[in-house]
Structure formats: C-alpha cells, structure tokens
Symmetry: C2
Subunit: 297 residues, 2 copies
Amino acid sequence: VNELDFIAALRGLPLHPGAGGLDDDCALIEFGGETLVLTHDMIVEGVHYVPGDDPFNVAWRLIATNLSDLAAKGAEPIGVLVGASLIGRMPRFVEGLRAVLEEYRVPLLGGDTVSGDKGASFGCTAIGRGTCRPVPRRSGALPGDRIVLAGTIGAACLGYQAVENGVDAPDVVPAFLRPVPLLAEGRLLAPHAHAMMDVSDGLLLDAARMARASGVTLALDSAALAPAIARSDALSPLDWQEAASWGDDYALLAALPPEVDCSALPGRVIGSVMSAGDAPLLVDGEAPEGTLGYEHR
Amino acid sequence: VNELDFIAALRGLPLHPGAGGLDDDCALIEFGGETLVLTHDMIVEGVHYVPGDDPFNVAWRLIATNLSDLAAKGAEPIGVLVGASLIGRMPRFVEGLRAVLEEYRVPLLGGDTVSGDKGASFGCTAIGRGTCRPVPRRSGALPGDRIVLAGTIGAACLGYQAVENGVDAPDVVPAFLRPVPLLAEGRLLAPHAHAMMDVSDGLLLDAARMARASGVTLALDSAALAPAIARSDALSPLDWQEAASWGDDYALLAALPPEVDCSALPGRVIGSVMSAGDAPLLVDGEAPEGTLGYEHR
C-alpha cells in the first residue's frame, strides 16, 4: 500500500464537510460564528530527515511547515499541539521548539510524548482562526484569475546543495534548515484569493495540484518566474526547471481575480488561469516534462 | 531524557492559557463564544502495541483513547485528524478507523501520511465542543466533594490475561482490544463536576494525579469500589489492588460537590475529597503501597 492508495481509502471514510474531501492541507470548521483552521503534519526520521540532523531544526521544521499550511489559508495561528517520540538529544529539540514558537508568537497547547526505541517521529497539529470569508481552498481557481507567487523558490534546493557539499552559503542554508512560514503574506492575500496553497513539494507539482483541484489549467510564464528564483553568492544559479521542481520552499501560490490590484499585495504575478485543457499545467505554453516535484510514495 | 523531564522542559515554553500548564489531557480554547476542546495522543509500535497486533485494533485504540479524553471534559466530538506512518496491512488499519468513527459518529477532518520503513507510529488530534461552562479540568476537586467512578476497572487487565494465556473470555477481551470512550457518561457528569479525568493509567495513579493537580487528598473506599471491578466467567477475580493499578480501562473519575444527587448520574460514589494530607491518595484510610499504575518512563 502506498500513500496515494491509503489516502484514497481514507476518502471512503465518514468525512467532515470541512475536510474538503482530504484534497486540502487544512480542515475548516465553522464554530461559534468563526472559521477554525486545522492542519496536521508528521515528521519521521529517515523520511524527512536523517538521524544525524540537529533536533533543533527538526523541531523548527515540524512547527514551521504546519504554520505554512495556516499561512496558505490566511489564518492567524492560535496554538499547536505536539506529539513526540523521545529518542535522545531532546533538550536540543526543545530549544528548537522554543525558537520557532517565539519567532512566530505561537503558544503550545499540549500534546503527547512517548518513550520509543525505534526511529523518532513527531506530529504537529496547528490551529488557527480564519481571518476572511470564505477561507481560500486550493480548489477555487477560476479562468481569468492571475497566479501570484509570494516568497521565493529554489532556496531550499541551493541550501541542500551547500550543506551536502560543505559550501558556506549563509544566503540560502537557513531557508533549507529552518523554513519560514509566510504568515503575514498569507493574511494579506487570503481575502482576495479564489484559491491558495503553500508550495511544499515543488512549484510545478503544487501548481498542477491547484489546477486539478480547481478543474482548470494553470499557465505559468518562466520569464515572470525568474525574479522569484533564489540565488546564492556561493553556488551556481538554478534554472527555472530546477527551482520549480524542488520542494521545501514554502512559498505561497494564489489565484487572484483580475480586478485585484496585485501591485498592492505580496508576491509577483507568474501566470494565469485558463479553462481546463489537455494538461493541468503549462509553462510558456507547453506541458513541462519530467519530475514536477516531490511525489509521495 | 525521560518523558517527565521532557514534559518539564515543555512547561518552560510559551504556553497557551488553555494548555492548563500541560497538566491536563485536553487544551481548552475560548473561540467564537464557545469552548473548543482539543487533545493529541500518539500510539507507537513497540510501546503501545507489538508488531503482530491487528492494525484494526491499533486504529480503534488510537481514536477511542482520544475520544476518552474528550469524554472526560464532557465534550461533544467534532472530528479527528489522523497522522499515520505506513508500514503494511494498512487496509486493516482503515477498516478499524471506519469501525470506530462510525461507532461514535465522528468524522475524519484530515491528517497526514508518511511512508516510513521503521517502526510504525500514529497520532490523533480529537476536537470537540464543550457542552458546559466551565469545562471540568482534573484540577478542580474541592474538600467535601464526592468521588464518582463511571465505568469499570480491571476489564483491560482481565482481557490482557485472557489474550496472553489463550483463554476464551468474550466478557473482557473486547474491553482490552477496543476500549470504549464513555462519551455519554462524560456529558452527563461534566456540568456537575468540579474535576474530571479519564482513568487511562490505573485508578490509583490517576486519582493521585487528580489529587495533586487539585491540591487535595482523595480518600477512596475499597468496599465501594468493589462493584466497579470487572469480572470474567473464565478468569479468577481481581482484588481491588490489581484492578485499580492496571491501565487502559478508560473509566471516568469525577469530583462532584455534595449537593449533587449522584443517584441520578452515571457511575458510583467510591470516595470523597479531603483537605491535602500527607499523601495525595488514601484507600480505606491508608496510603496504598507499591505501584499505583502505568508510570511513563
């Protein structure tokens, strides 16, 4: 059983209406006249990181990636629940938790700890308050919308290259080790967005997902994308194919109706939405070839 | 680092006011004029179950134990988020999820899946709506309160004995394999309770925890407890020490003010609350000796 089969099986279970058919990173619950936004992500040793990685960064990534899901809904974080299996070097994990919670002013709500002796695993549930109605899903893009990317892509790719090759590249390594959830950008974009999601598995792959969820085609322009590609003084520049097919960047991808003045909002216009064509995604008018991003097995 | 050290370190992090100092199984958030109740528990292979166990029961236990935490707050479940690392036999896990979600009419809200190759681990975040104000914590017991136990203790112990020894004991094995969250009982007790918690690690241990959290002493009466001890036609009866120091029963323990008519509520009176004495817990007037329950390492 692979992940996609498993998720397909989960879709056959009794789902909450706010689960969005399990097609979105967040669940939305109407509660007491407000919208509650919930997301849960796991980090597992050997899958998302290697045993030698600094637990500080594991904790940071655990919280930051969940906050990025809230950012993609324009939600204001309320708090996080954390589950952790204890394997050693936990003081360093707690230091990372403190750093990321203080950085984004998000309090700990609770959680669970387990003394395991196998590979470590961690879970985070982040809870937020929707700041607009409706809260944008990844499925609402409409033909004629403009596609906006807030944040950069490729920094995690360059950061990974630097770490793997022992290159000193302080301009990109932090983005790889300690991703930044674009909470402020998300709150500014959300009230205007027909659709929004974070770019966690690669821009091309995530753009194709938004297109499929919305029943449209996304047409991107590589020249418009170029300024959004991260650079490092210490490493060779990435071409758009590399930058747009690598994950872990946590930019935000939004579909905005044409009447919105994008110049007053974060990000840059990198394309537009068309009626569904043969391919969910076009770049410079052609369906991109090869791997689009990080596919879950 | 053991679990208690780790939790102590977590208490030093920025906590949400609703985290209750991490002394409670649930976080409480005032949201939109209502109280949101949240809990997160993990289940890890090799800690909470052995690799050969039926994944159906692992899924059931994952959800049921989280719902039991909601039951202890008198909360009405809204839904669950589930994190799962995939190891094999996932169709059986999904069957168990379906069974427990349908049994308690709780919808799936979302979650995360990971294709791991080490020990399996699972997380569940259950979200509920408080049905009374204030929602009872484990810390509110007052001298003069009566202690009520809803549900039975010892069934999981007998069920474990039966499974380990290959004894056919259909009167207790289901309680061990597929615990029952006492949601209806919790909702009836919560509006009257000064304090409430579920008994997951053993009655004596959990009663001592309620006493410490409340700054009181709980005085239990073994004769009053006797009718709450589960029996099996196929196994020797348990004495109160055995039944009250074994976990996994998921009974509810509540402290009710003396003016409440307990005869109209679920459960039975098994003791009373006194001002804090030398020991947090007395049974028949003496501090119980030996292991009180399942202590986390």
